[in-house]
Amino acid sequence: MKKVVDKILSVVLIALMAFMVINVLWQVASRFIFNSPSDFTDELAGFQLIWVGLLGAAYGTGQNLHLAIDLLPDKLKGAKKKILQYFINLCILSFALSVMVVGGIRLVYLTFILEQFSSSLQIAMGYVYLVLPLSGVIIVFYCILEFFQIRNQPNEFN
């Protein structure tokens, strides 16, 4: 299950990143070679960075990549360690659920009913912000899996 999500997410991220590179290279080429800088690549690149950054952060949460001070979790053993790991995981889950999923959905909803459009591409801003609840749901998913992972960890006896 996790492997499937990891795989899909990594393929999407690779595609987004490649698209972003091509987009900005096109922007540079349009300015230097064709002498007519395009507005839409500029705006699109910003939106792509939001998507790559937040979706990538969700992926990074699943891979445990984010920087943390591991002194305490490394020091504790047995049940105490598990409780701390549960709590850390719960913190990440609460943030993703409240801010990214709930706050994100409300933001998407508000920008849709207020009919906010981007200035040059005329994309509804709701679509850009959609990455917040999407990444939030993925982080929540990874956190739930992590709970089971912690529960199934063998207890260290020493």
Partner: protein, 431 residues
Amino acid sequence: MNLTEVLILVISFLILLSIGVPIAYSIGIASVLTMLVSIPTMPALTTFAQRMATSLDSFSLLAIPFFILSGQLMNKGGIAARLIDFSKVIVGRLPGGLAFVNIIACMLFGAISGSAVAAASAIGGVMNKRMEDEGYDRPFSAAVNITSATTGMIIPPSNILIVYSLASGGVSIAALFIAGYVPGLLLGLGLMIVAGVIAYRKKLRGGESVSISFAFKKLLDAIPSLLMLVIVIGGIVVGIFTATEASAIAVLYTLILAMIYKEVKIADLPQILLDTVKTTSIVMILIATSVGMSWVMSYENIPQEVSSLLIGLSDNKIVILLIINLVLLFVGIFMDMTPAVLIFTPIFLPVVIELGVDPVHFGIVMVLNLCIGLCTPPVGSVLFIGCGVANIKIHQVIKPLMPLFLMMLFILILVTYIPEISLWLPGLFDF
């Protein structure tokens, strides 16, 4: 400023951070908890979500993933080996030569790859072994490697200076980049002096002389990699392109170079792109939540209060800069560079501007200061990598690190109190 909010912000952040919640999430949770005191729940959550997304919507931030990508493309190839050989031709014969080679290679690699961690692992991976073979002890090699790897954060192109430009509300990236050269080189030189003295006292020899044709070949090999710095920085300085455009050109250049050297195949590209996304998004989520925290702080009027508090303590520039440096050294011990720059720039920059400090100069001081934190436990990422590749424990490296640390502090004092070190070069280019 409401004391309750400030206490909630600071205390919840420190608790979350110290029990091991990832830094980006600690920042986000502490900020949202603080907002909930004075803002109703739903608007608070929505506002924070929006801050996170819009903070990344910036054309200048795009330079970060591109410089990371060009660094990744370079790392795949034999650039570390080429830069080491290049440095060896230049300084290898001096007494303690290999320590100098380590430092210069780290400076070049750090500048090209834009990553101190990458410099420590790529150069350290090769140099520790070679230095051990010639009688240098591992902790000393690792200490030299760790401290010199941080010079790449100041010598351009530098991602952290782009972050500072964002946090400061638009200080010119080009000016910051040029301003980084002299302090970065000075730091490298300072480290070489310390390493040279230690090597001399340990009676470490220099390497053997090499034939001219061999030296010429090694110099020639390094040129394509070094040319990237010339194209990118040259273009930015002369004003042909912006930092973001330069970063895209760097990607194209390194890709073509890697293809010519046959060091990267088309089939490798997806993995390289994914590695780039991983590194990028670690930085981006830190930016997203740090910008959110910075918004919460200004909503609570914290920067203004801290400013008047500091000005109230003293209106002496020397004293205020000393206090700020001490605070930042402390912050750097337990906080990563990116959030530290994003959170503390809006607080300290207005104070120092009022005292007549140039924002470009202050950016260099801040980054140089936080570089020291990269080499200290518990979150010194460069320290961990440096010890990891040298295969030694952290406590072993502390003793040889000390004299190098003192030199870093000394350079920090010089750069803080002599603005010309940072501002002379940009001045020549009319920035």
